[in-house]
Amino acid sequence: MSGIRFESVSVAYGGHTVLDSLDLTVEPGEVMALLGPSGSGKTTALRAVAGFVTPASGRVLIGGRDVTHLPPHKRGIGMVVQQYALFPHMRVKENVAFGLRAHRTPRSGIPGRVAEALEMTGMGAYAERYPRELSGGQQQRVAIARALAIRPGVLLLDEPLSALDAQLRSGMLAELARLHRELPDVSLLYVTHDQVEALTLADRIAVMDRARLQDCGTPQELYRTPRTEFTASFVGNANLLPVTVAERGAVFEGRTLTVGPAGQAPYGIAPGATATLCVRPHLLALGEGPNALRGRITEVQWRGSTHRLYVEVAGHRIKADLPELRETPALGDEVTLHFEPRDAVLLTAGVSHG
């Protein structure tokens, strides 16, 4: 059982900080997703665990052991990368056996371990093939089998599904969840820019942006009660409205909106302070109701099961995802949107237009 700990880890390339004092603990057996846009430092954090970048300061611990200055091959990790990196000159079974050979596993034990790892990923029938004879999804399964064959305490996954098409991706996501149920002792550090992957798979999500850890919590916490504007907009694509906190609720462009359970001063923010109101597009509904917002439609997108409306309310563009409408509204129509008070969250962070 081994977890991962980052202790104020900073990484810089030529004076440019790509990871800024990251503090994060992945508990043994936990699935932690590092979620963020490209350039957010999430891959750098993973590579610091793998040993391919050396932190400028701070420590990286795996299973309580300081590995900051240990070369990659002595860290006891498994790693799966986006482009699979299967060795093209070796058969599937030789690829999977590679780590075992490198670890000087007794020769007699290798075939059994290889078969076991390939069975686990459903690739048992492909042991004699070369990587180039496999599809992308199959290659990724082999890459996972290869990483798992050495029975690492920690498995690092760097955007493992981003080279696969959408349908394969959801299948592999379910597969990864099953693998983790079968190997409950392995800690997973999963780097992705896709919130669906993070929400589906992770026990906790660490949200990264601009080289910093922005937020960390369970998927439910981050989705329902984000703590920062960045989390709110990156996880779930929320609407962010600049408001002034009032005695009861919040004032948005002259309208008083009620937020949270009735009658409560929201989140202990002092009245008069500026704040950001965060409401998810799919929690908005058409028609009159509590917290009504009137505006003009600027764009309509039909997405099959839903309609996405962009509505301009007092100069702010609001996204609303509505169940498929019988009659498609026209551009320029006046509409009223509303949301339930309990569906909105107030953020203390400074207002910025999203």
């Binding site: 793998a50 391919f52 070369p71 790693m79 482009q83 990196a85 000159h89 590679f98 990483a147 690092l156």
Partner: protein, 265 residues
């Protein structure tokens, strides 16, 4: 296809024939024709004979061929080892250091090979490094000359090698030596054999540096061709040249077969 119209394609072929045939094919055809000639006084050779070949594959000529083959094989293997080693080491250096190392290895190409021959001769003519008059001085000079090409082509291949492979291998617990032996060198194998073939071909044809250095008991085939034509035996020189060409092509063909196998895996 770059040229689409039929007329355009004909024109391209015609241009190719005009440029390629006189420049590349004709001299080779003439050498082959001369090697079978007993006389050549008119426009075409006369008195066809295979006598020149009979002489070319026995005695001193055969020895010269063996000398050339041994020199080329040893020199290109040495060059391959040294060049690969240097290229692997250089890949880990900073950009500026690497550039100066690149320049250093390209020096024997930039400097005329006669100068290299002279330099080697001067450098190794005095104890304790007395190699003058031995076969090793020829092999040494050839190695110096062809290592540049080995270094350059292996360097280029290393740049193209995806670092994801060695990182994946390292994450699986493989030490740098194990990664080199089991992953990087096998992936470089096609480029290594190509570099080896190039070195071999260059060494087989090397004349100017060799002229400065060869001892009487280690006369490579190009030197023998030169001395034969120099004393007027143009036809036997041609036969020797064809033998040299054929031997080089045969070895290159064998090397390229290994290469196809390596890149297919």
């Amino acid at each position: 296809m770059l040229v689409h119209s039929k007329a355009g394609r004909w024109a391209a072929w015609a241009l190719f024939a005009v440029l390629f045939l006189p420049l590349f094919a004709l001299p080779l055809v003439v050498v082959v024709a001369a090697s079978f000639a007993g006389h050549w006084s008119g426009a075409f050779p006369s008195d066809p004979t295979t006598g020149h070949y009979a002489a070319a594959v026995r005695g001193e000529s055969l020895q010269a061929l063996t000398t050339s083959l041994v020199t080329a094989v040893v020199a290109s293997l040495l060059a391959l080892v040294l060049g690969t080693w240097a290229a692997l080491a250089a890949a880990r250096l900073g950009r500026r250091t690497k550039r100066s190392l690149d320049a250093l290895f390209m020096l024997p190409v930039a400097v005329p090979s006669v100068v290299i021959g002279l330099a080697v001769l001067v450098a190794f003519s005095r104890p304790p490094l007395l190699l003058n008059g031995t076969s090793s001085i020829v092999v040494l000079a050839h190695t110096v000359l062809v290592t540049a090409f080995a270094y350059q082509s292996v360097s280029a291949a290393i740049v193209r090698l995806d670092p994801a492979y060695e990182q994946a291998a390292a994450s699986l617990g493989a030490s740098p030596g194990y990664v080199l032996w089991r992953v990087r060198l096998p992936l470089l194998l096609p480029s290594l054999t190509a570099a080896g073939g190039l070195c071999f071909a260059l060494s087989m044809g090397e004349l100017s540096a060799t002229m400065m250095l060869y001892p009487p008991d280690w006369v490579p085939l190009p030197v023998r061709i030169f001395t034969a034509t120099d004393r007027g035996s143009l036809f036997s020189g041609s036969a020797l040249a064809v033998v040299l060409m054929a031997a080089t092509l045969l070895v290159l063909l064998a090397v390229s077969r290994i290469r196809t196998r390596a890149s297919y895996r």
